[in-house]
Amino acid sequence: MRAGARRLVRALRDPSSIPLWIAAVAALAVAVPFVAFGGLDPATRAPLPRGTGDAVRTSLYEVTVLHAELTDKIEEQYLSADDGEDLLVVTAVIENLSDVPVGIVQTVDRVRSRLAGSSTPLIDLVGVEATSGPSAWRDESVAAVVLQPRVPAEVRIAWPVPEGSFPDGSVAIDVYDAVAQGGQVILSSSAITWQRTEPAARVTVRVDP
């Protein structure tokens, strides 16, 4: 046993084992920083907490929530809340970081961005179930909002929600990152869908009554 250990030490001190030492040092030089900088941490990350006026940048768009309020009627958009419901109106600046125009609720040309109003929206209310689909508009809107590439737009999005949905006076909105996917099965390959991936941030905003 002791003879074996002595032989091992002698082998390691032998000049012919220098390449082995170099390889071991090189492997450690890679492995130690990898572990030290969080390489073995779990891959999921919690959404960053954000507030009013903070920009949340994802790979395809940037959103800054400015204001949220509850109302029961928006005359210029012919929107009104049903009995027992309120309209949650969120004002936000959204910038489209992709290179094609996209909509918020609607499909624009061949791109389904699904920012709001789909089963997996990129801008999603937390803990509140909207009673029907949202609407989005700008101040002067007569047609569906089109977000031009790299032109920030101030828009309003209204969700019909049950009355008393925000007992603590604030709303949390999850903003998801997304990837642009081409070639859905049914549509042609030139159609693009923004597929949501990880939550990028959770924006908490005071709701004005």
């Binding site: 290179d99 002067e140 031009q148």
Partner: protein
């Protein structure tokens, strides 16, 4: 055939197969739109149009003065008509392709040529207005026009080329309603 030659021939065949795969257009491209025209004027199955001018502007005002907006605007002046039929003869999808980026004629702006009924044999003169990021000021752009809500399949899309380099820049542009019959 010696061993080396066999390997070289095999590698050449693999390269050829890769090249053929790379050059084969996707199956969906058999349904692509037809791009018609590459100058200042173009005529297709459902539309004919020609560019008559273009201006950058910081502020755009509607003809009645009720609406105005600041930004980096490109106002494209053009005349358009219907070549054969007035049914659905209107510019619905108007896009600006510049440097790999696509913009759509702004839905914010009133008094544009978009969604106006066009006439057979008589030009309608009007504008399309694009809201752009500040850095889009040069290069050659393409204005693409079609009568469908989304880029059509197996139908004409007009392509008008528009050099942006020497366009005039105005601080304010007042829009006017499209006019039928300018000839």
């Amino acid at each position: 055939m010696s061993g080396a030659r066999r390997w070289i021939a095999g590698a050449a065949l693999v390269l050829c197969a890769g090249l053929a795969t790379a050059l084969t257009p996707p199956a969906d491209s058999t349904y692509d739109e037809f791009l018609v025209g590459d100058g200042a004027a173009a005529a297709g199955r459902t539309l004919s149009a020609s560019l008559t001018g273009a201006t950058f502007a910081r502020t755009v005002v509607s003809s009645d003065g009720d609406w105005r907006a600041d930004g980096h605007w490109l106002i494209v002046e053009l005349t358009a008509s219907a070549p054969r039929s007035e049914v659905d003869a209107e510019v619905v999808l108007a896009t600006l392709h510049v440097g790999g980026t696509v913009f759509q004629a702004s839905e914010r702006v009133p008094d544009t040529l978009a969604k106006r009924q066009l006439r057979v044999g008589t030009d309608t003169a009007g504008v399309l207005v694009f809201e752009l990021p500040d850095d889009v000021t040069d290069g050659t752009a393409q204005v693409r026009l079609s009568t469908a809500y989304s880029t059509p399949q197996l139908d004409d899309v007009l392509v008008l080329s528009l050099p942006l380099d020497d366009l005039p820049a105005a601080s304010l542009v007042e829009l006017s309603e499209p006019m039928v019959g300018t000839r």
